[in-house]
Symmetry: C2
Subunit: 202 residues, 2 copies
């Protein structure tokens, strides 16, 4: 995702990832991100505090780093798909595809999710990244549908996809063994296709 160029780039990415993982590890250990300081994270990752702040504005950002990377991957994938598919299908397939390629195990995801749900600051920051994703993606969708960025339809389509993704994710994390994630995602998208007014038969 962030390589291709020299060794330096790779080292930067490695440090960033290391900081992110350190943040996660410590947060799990302490039970909450607020109980962890920037100093702690820097120490755990083996860099100075100042360096930590060169990479991240806050510990929340560090904690959510890989989530952020995932969304970037999603956008890249979407950009490609939108050239060869109707936008709605592109969105659906990107979302499904992202999760199929996922390297995280269920336990880590649940762990992270719980930490986020219990921390107001984490919720806020995650929501912020979500919103950022939205604004970035609106451009792609608008271009694909040949509409303007501030038109109604692209925002509605994109919003639907994001909500579908979010709802599917949350539902699946709560009941991981009920159905595979990709099925839940597909079902969410189907609901939007059929119109929202009444639930489709599960």
């Amino acid at each position: 995702m962030t390589d291709q160029t020299g060794l330096r780039e790779r080292k930067k990415a490695a440090t960033k990832a290391a900081l992110g993982e350190a943040a996660f590890r410590l947060a799990v250990a302490e039970g909450a991100i607020d109980a962890v300081s920037a100093d702690d994270i820097a120490a755990e990752a083996g860099v100075s505090t100042r360096t930590f702040h060169n990479y991240f504005h806050s510990k929340e950002e560090a904690f959510l780093h890989d989530f952020n990377e995932l969304t970037r991957a999603l956008l890249d994938d979407l950009r490609e798909r939108s050239k060869v598919q109707p936008i709605w299908e592109a969105l659906r397939d990107s979302c499904v595809g992202l999760r199929l390629n996922e390297r995280y195990d269920l336990h880590v995801l649940q762990c992270k999710d719980e930490l986020v749900r219990n921390s107001p600051t984490l919720i806020t920051h995650q929501a912020g990244q979500f919103m950022e994703l939205f604004t970035d993606a609106v451009g792609i969708v608008a271009e694909a549908t040949g509409t303007r960025g501030d038109d109604l339809y692209p925002r509605l389509v994109l919003g639907s996809a994001l909500i579908a993704m979010k709802a599917a994710n949350e539902h699946w994390l709560a009941h991981p063994d009920q159905a595979p994630l990709e099925d839940v995602i597909t079902r969410s998208f189907a609901q939007f296709e059929a119109g929202i007014t009444r639930p489709i038969t599960a």
Copy 2:
């Protein structure tokens, strides 16, 4: 919304509102919320800095205070409507109704919106409030539809409504004279009713 009880309650609400307005005024004057300190806001509102932090965790929260109050009003309204209407209609009518009762003038709204769009921290905090609204509202929707909170459908319905509201708002702020806000909201909801896959005829 927050009265009924004694004079003290009203004074508290007044101070809180005053702080919120002070935050807005100063942010407009400086062109960005980051250029305003908590001290400044407290001074402008005529209270001590410490008192400011008794009311708000951060200046962003102060700046978004009235937005927060609006969402609370929306939730109260929704709770009532959901007893006598199908949930989707309740959502639509609550959203439309909220904006019809609006006391803010267009210029203030646009002003605020621009300040938010230009400030990453404000975007983050607004998104956070949005998410909080979501979690609060999921309960209402789940109860109204007789489903569990972690089911798929309530989250999708609610998410749709929020997206419809958000998209309508943004579109309208960008083109205030193209159509009245309530029409744009209605149109957004109609899109979700018809299914998202292709745009309804504008």
